[in-house]
């Protein structure tokens, strides 16, 4: 069943076009890799799909409803209920501890501090970083920071996880570990994942892959399925 759908997405930054009519679908529980060279519009597509950016033309449908017609506040709420977002770096609040960072979406949703912390500790434990729960991001390694960020993206048990180059700042081992965690959680919770990457080894974790070039997807618009044996 299609959970997220983008039709003919066009997005420009001033005179520079980033996306030229991209169409893509994401099924429930599916892991979709968006690949392509630098500057091809991968991140812009992820930002449009997650409601962070509004496309100039085309539409994004989530659960059959148009994202573009929702207010900024509504789309923000969606990010702490149905969507989780994981970037390459920079998404943790440097002044808060790991547990506070993970608890942040719950606190913003009005949950009590104790309840939010319990949930945060649970997720930190699942991602094997419970030992740094009371450390600040500056006191953690890059891999630990990314796993904390992943915990924060997953703490609300989202239906879709958007991951933009999640292993881009990590070494191979830490990257594999993080992707292992993400795919395991996605399978357990039936969470769909949009995985933006330029690395074939990362895209190999996906069920399906689409490649962007100069802001456009392949002509079928549906992408090519990765052979079942291709997934580790």
């Amino acid at each position: 069943m299609t959970l997220l759908q983008a039709r003919g997405i066009v997005k420009s930054y001033g005179p520079t076009p980033a996306l030229r009519g991209v169409t893509v679908e994401l099924a429930e529980g599916e892991i979709l890799a968006v690949t392509g060279p630098s500057g091809c519009g991968k991140s812009t597509l992820l930002h449009c799909l997650s409601g962070i950016l509004r496309p100039d033309a085309g539409e994004v449908l989530y659960g059959g409803q148009r994202l573009g017609t929702r207010s900024e506040a509504d789309r923000s709420r969606l990010r702490r209920t149905d969507f989780g977002v994981l970037f390459q770096f920079g998404q943790l609040v440097a002044e808060l501890t790991a547990a506070e960072n993970v608890a942040l979406p719950l606190l913003l949703a009005g949950k009590g501090r104790r309840e939010a912390r319990t949930a945060a500790l649970n997720w930190l434990e699942r991602l094997e970083v419970a030992d740094v729960a009371d450390s600040r991001p500056g006191e953690m390694s890059g891999g630990q920071q990314q796993r904390c960020a992943a915990a924060r993206a997953l703490v609300t048990e989202p239906k879709v996880l958007f991951a933009d180059e999640p292993t881009g700042a990590l070494d191979a081992l830490a990257g594999e570990r993080l992707l292992g965690h993400l795919t395991r959680v996605a399978q357990e919770q039936r969470t769909s994942v949009v995985l933006v990457t330029h690395e074939a080894s990362v895209a190999a974790y996906a069920d399906r892959e689409i490649t962007l070039r100069d802001g456009a997807s392949d002509p079928t618009g549906l992408g090519a399925y990765v052979p079942a044996g291709g997934r580790p």
């Binding site: 900024e72 923000s76 808060l96 942040l104 913003l108 501090r113």
Partner: protein, 521 residues
């Protein structure tokens, strides 16, 4: 979001954030002190049955200062104290820019985690509100303690300050709670041009058009209002026209002052742009060229950083013009008194020619101006330091490329002083014109007839009518001089203050140009 979560997010921060919170709290404490002082002055009781404009029976003789004794003057004193909050609030506004990049990153991270734009703004406003609340509470404590410490009656039981009265509890609560609320609202308004997105913070682009000299219209209107006020006053003196007691003079006084000050502040944008163009045209050295480019790139930087200072300069120059008026008036009165005494065949008594009340009042105003200038200079120091810290990566890149630190320092000095000198000259001119406009450029005393008694004092006391006769008192007309010496001193003082603030701000340049900065972030 629960209040505890809001508080935690609002108070999370680095050392720079802590400094911003502390400075905001200090500013709020100073503002609270000014407001509490004004409320205390207004709390001095007027005896039952007397209005604020009643005679000496209603005076509060327990005070040494005539400004506090006379009920009719107290609203003016309170208004003056409230005006002191303007530079203080401007200082708070400038403090709010400290460490803005790290706060903006934090707000963006909150947005990415699902925070709505309103929640991000609430977090930022809550930080200001909490810091201000701490400050106003501290201000209240200082006020209460200071009241006890300064309550020292002289031999006659008179006190210099109204330490014997206290504003009502609702008034105190309004000051202590109202100021933080205002500060939080101001912070929210200041953030209206800031769009916090999950991808970072962007500021809504201002118009790319160069600043235009249209603020000159505001200045002309402001000065015109002061001249109109003088015309109305003359009309009233000549014909007893009741227009003078209508709200019109007050409107002209405050509206005109506001327009002129706003004109000077906004005009500084045009001045910055114009000086940037001139510098760019004629400068040959790297430092002024760098400064010229920065002035052209952001001409409004000058009006933002110098706003409070320029308002204080306008007010100060106006006060000097008013002082010159009162000094001339005193001289004219002394001359009239001398004539009267000679006509009466008595030694010079002084009489109304020795009443220095207005000049004494101007001493208080001058003190307020100096306090305002110092606070504004402190705000400038914060801004310069913030500008240096915010540009540390580009400064470090310049240093790595071989640009000497002295060149960067000189560029900052050029950037500050090139628009400052003409802006201060404009502010002083406007202030002087307004001061002269409100009070006039001419003093007229004496005139008409007076009854004088030239008999022995005992006889005069016994039957004044019998031994007195009418004399013609000459018209003494004096032109009020433009206080050039005082104005020069005022301008020089401002430049010295700015030089000190800029010099202190430049101390941040050394750590800010460390090549290590290029490795951070």
């Amino acid at each position: 979001m629960k209040p505890t979560a809001l508080l935690r997010l609002a108070l999370a921060g680095t050392r720079t954030d802590t400094l911003r919170v502390v400075l905001t709290a200090v500013s709020a404490a100073l503002a609270a002190l000014a407001v509490l002082a004004a409320l205390t002055v207004l709390a001095i009781p007027v005896p039952a049955g007397f209005g604020p404009r009643d005679g000496s029976d209603a005076w509060a003789d327990q005070y040494t200062s005539a400004l506090l004794k006379e009920p009719g003057l107290r609203p003016g004193v309170a208004a003056g104290l409230l005006l002191l909050t303007i530079p203080v609030l401007a200082l708070a506004g400038q403090c709010a820019r400290l460490g803005a990049p790290s706060r903006d990153r934090r707000l963006a991270a909150i947005r990415l985690a699902g925070g709505t734009p309103r929640q991000a703004m609430t977090v930022a406003a809550a930080e200001t509100g909490v810091a201000s609340l701490l400050g106003t509470c501290a201000g209240l404590v200082v006020c209460l303690v200071g009241r006890e410490v300064m309550h020292r009656p002289d031999a006659e039981g008179r006190i210099p300050l109204p330490t014997d009265v206290l504003p009502s509890v609702p008034a105190l609560a309004a000051a202590v709670l109202g100021l933080p609320l205002l500060a939080a609202l101001a912070a929210a308004v200041m953030l209206r041009r800031v769009i916090v997105t999950p991808l970072g913070v962007t500021r809504q682009a201002r118009s790319k058009r160069s600043p235009r000299p249209w603020p000159a219209v505001l200045i002309v209107l402001g000065v015109g209002a002061s001249l109109a006020l003088e015309a109305i006053r003359k009309n009233y003196e000549d014909s007893g026209d009741p227009a003078f007691v209508s709200p019109l003079p007050l409107l002209l006084l405050f509206g005109g002052g506001l327009m002129a000050a706003l004109g000077v502040v906004l005009g500084t944008g045009w001045i910055s742009h114009a000086t940037g163009r001139v510098l760019h045209r004629f400068a040959r050295r790297p430092a002024p060229l760098l400064a010229a480019r920065r002035l052209l790139a952001d001409p409004w930087h000058g009006s933002r950083t110098l706003a409070a200072l320029l308002v204080a300069v306008v007010f100060g120059a106006g006060a000097l013009a008013v002082r010159a008026f009162f000094a001339t008036m005193l001289e004219a009165r002394q001359e009239v008194q001398r004539f009267y005494d000679e006509a009466a065949g008595q030694e010079t008594t002084g009489g109304y020619g020795s009443d220095t009340f207005y000049l004494d009042a101007m001493d208080v105003v001058d003190t307020a101006v100096v306090v305002g200038l110092v606070i504004a200079a402190a705000g400038l120091l914060v801004t310069v330091a913030e500008a240096v810290v915010a540009r540390r990566r580009s400064h470090a890149a310049l240093a790595a490329a071989g640009v000497p630190r002295s060149v960067m320092g000189r560029a900052l000095v050029w950037q500050t002083f090139a628009p400052l000198v003409p802006a201060v000259a404009l502010a002083m001119t406007v202030g002087t014109l307004m001061g002269r406009g409100y009070f006039g450029a001419e003093v007229r005393e004496g005139g008409g007839q007076a009854q004088t008694c030239d008999a022995a004092p005992a006889l005069c006391e016994e039957n004044f009518e019998k031994y007195s006769h009418l004399i013609e008192v000459p018209d003494v007309v004096r032109a009020v001089p433009v206080p050039l010496d005082d104005l020069a001193l005022h301008g020089l003082g401002v430049l010295v203050l700015v030089a000190a603030a800029t010099g202190l701000g430049l101390l941040f340049l050394r750590p800010g140009t460390s090549v290590e900065e290029l490795r951070t972030g």
